[in-house]
Point group: C2
Chain length 237, copies 2
Amino acid sequence: MNFPGAPAMGSSPQPKTRTDRAYLLLRADVISGRLKPGTKLRVEQLRADYDIGATPLREALSRLSADGFVISEGQRGFRVVPMSYNDLQDITRVRILIETEALRDSIESGDDVWESRLVAAYYRLSKLEAQAEPDYEQRERANEVFHSALLAGCGSPLLLRLHHTLYDQHKRYRNISLLTATVPRDVHEEHRAIYDAALARDATKACDATRVHIMRTMEVTLEVFRKAEEKPASATN
Amino acid sequence: MNFPGAPAMGSSPQPKTRTDRAYLLLRADVISGRLKPGTKLRVEQLRADYDIGATPLREALSRLSADGFVISEGQRGFRVVPMSYNDLQDITRVRILIETEALRDSIESGDDVWESRLVAAYYRLSKLEAQAEPDYEQRERANEVFHSALLAGCGSPLLLRLHHTLYDQHKRYRNISLLTATVPRDVHEEHRAIYDAALARDATKACDATRVHIMRTMEVTLEVFRKAEEKPASATN
DNA sequence: CGCCCACAAAACATCGATAATTTTGCTTAT
DNA sequence: ATAAGCAAAATTATCGATGTTTTGTGGGCG
């Protein structure tokens, strides 16, 4: 009764194996903040929460530890990687390094397809950013698509992979700051600057704009984060 | 991947957990070339070879797949990451990016301890490189220690971590080219240039020298690698 | 003669249970 | 009362066994 299987549906990535599902779920929960920094990840607990066996869970946790989302403490289990002022600065710094390099490459070697995809992504993002009543969920996704589109022309799989991981690690910090969103900031203008420079094939200008953009993002986040650090309401669960 | 900030020590005498041992053994065997590119990693086989249960092995393989040493193919098990001309170029490029950034930082903020360790590492490396009858094992280790010492002053844990992984991925390519060692090359001179610039606190010059050094290493390896690619003797096992 | 389907064998992924280790809580002596 | 030492409890790491998917092979049909 096992047919060769339904044709692949690209849009909804239903993970084929349980390890993959566990990986994606845990990753998403760490990034979204549902799993708080420093939380101990007891396998029994996770087993109940996700309805996945211990083995695939441990495998997923192993992968995540290599990615830097959780830490594997000797024989004392796993816990969510803590967040810190210094860590955010470190991630930001490396992200700038990786992203500007990839962007430069992308701009210099991107073809027509790259351009048109970039235009589309920017158009969509602009529309969402212009909304008076923002849907953060969609906006976040559009933001991610836009940044990916910028780099898509880059010829280095490694750079893209690193960027993906760093982007999500950074996102974790950004997510906690969204809650307390604060400082006035014209994000759209920053995006526009990058976009214009990219289309004009001015790599240096685009990289500068990207640097500014990422730095500003970090600064806003740092602000919120420092406050949150003073009164730690983290669940030690 | 879990490693302390400590400089590379070849062998962790007794990894605390079996997963760790499996991880280190597999990693070493992939890097050394004992496990050939593309080889299918059958769990039963590994189980027999390393005398470690299936669970820790799978966890180790998961970590390695996140590190980029093996690939996890859907429901079709694991295999050693293939090697290719393009991959080497990609790794080299990113390694240069990461290593020069870390080096610049290190030079600008390294203290006395950093300096003295660097002197020691260079001294040892020089001695080994001057030997008429080279011990590649030791030389390789000294090389690693030297490069680590150069970067040790860098304030970014992330950069160091990335460097460590990239260095080892690069090493894998270098190892296969050692067998067919060929092109005349004054490695010591390249090291000296980096060393002198670093001690003189000339970051730009040191980065340039590093770039040259890494590029030369890649070129030598590419040479050998291209030949090997023509007559593929790889085990499809 | 070749292609396709069905079946069998192998390998992978997963589960439940066991062994080993760490943490916790309690007792006792200073 | 406090700190050290021991014992129980919780939790992790690991193993052996079981279900599923994939792969290889042979026979039937066009």
